[in-house]
Symmetry: C2
Subunit: 122 residues, 2 copies
DNA sequence: TCTTTATATGCGCCATTTCGCATATAATAG
DNA sequence: CTATTATATGCGAAATGGCGCATATAAAGA
């Protein structure tokens, strides 16, 4: 069980301190997504999505990998247990927000590409 | 069950986005405290403690009342259930930090004045 | 190689936040 | 009324953070 530094806590709470980042993280708690999908769901310019994903990544909350020209993001599998539990708890809080609810509805309508399936649209 | 606006979420996470505020809030999760006690425990100038308590108060997380020249602070009793649960969850996370652990040890050594008891020191 | 698609980032600008000092306020004691 | 104790706050400077544009990078396709 590793120590957590007060700076890690600050960067954690800092990462959650922006509406767009909150929404991005919440989407990623549903499933792995590529940047262009998040752009579409949140109707947000590419440079914003990339920038804010960068902050979440730097805080260690998400990780990414490349597949062709796409970059996929997902919740970092290696985050400590206490942190994961906190996120699950916070999810219940966030889900009371109508903006978050709306985002999830839009995400639900957008089709998930299954692994190996050819890239269709973006 | 009231809706929570995305702005409330932002102000919540914003309130937690500062090391000193985190430490203050954590102390108040132990027990009601007056400003001068928090100054002593956290070894922090008065204006900083007051300012940051003001932010926590504005976010609706704590409330205060006067007793003589002292101002007491405590966790707001009226905060919504989901929020309270989130705080309890986050407490486990924060408590892994050695800074927080240290603060709590110092607080434990400082004597709590019981209600009605005369004010002794500060 | 040239183009297109997907994503990241350097940079300057503006808004927000924090700091530290000084001062204001409020209650109490003398 | 004056002094003291406890706390809050106005203000300017410094630091931080997000925005938007433009551009860089990287892979794939023609």
């Amino acid at each position: 069980m590793a120590h957590i530094k007060i700076n890690d806590l600050t960067s954690f709470h800092g990462a959650l301190n922006d509406p767009l980042r909150l929404r991005l993280l919440r989407l990623l708690m549903e499933r792995e997504l590529c940047v262009c999908e998040m752009m579409r769901v949140l109707k947000t310019p590419q440079y914003k999505v990339s920038r804010h994903l960068g902050v979440l990544k730097k805080a260690g909350l998400i990780r990414d990998w490349r597949e062709g020209t796409w970059i996929h993001y997902e919740i970092a599998p290696a985050i400590p247990g206490v942190l994961k539990e906190s996120l699950v708890c916070l999810r219940s809080l966030w889900d009371q927000s109508s903006v978050i609810k709306h985002d999830l509805r839009i995400l639900g309508r957008s089709s998930a590409r299954k692994p190996g399936e050819p890239v269709v649209n973006c």
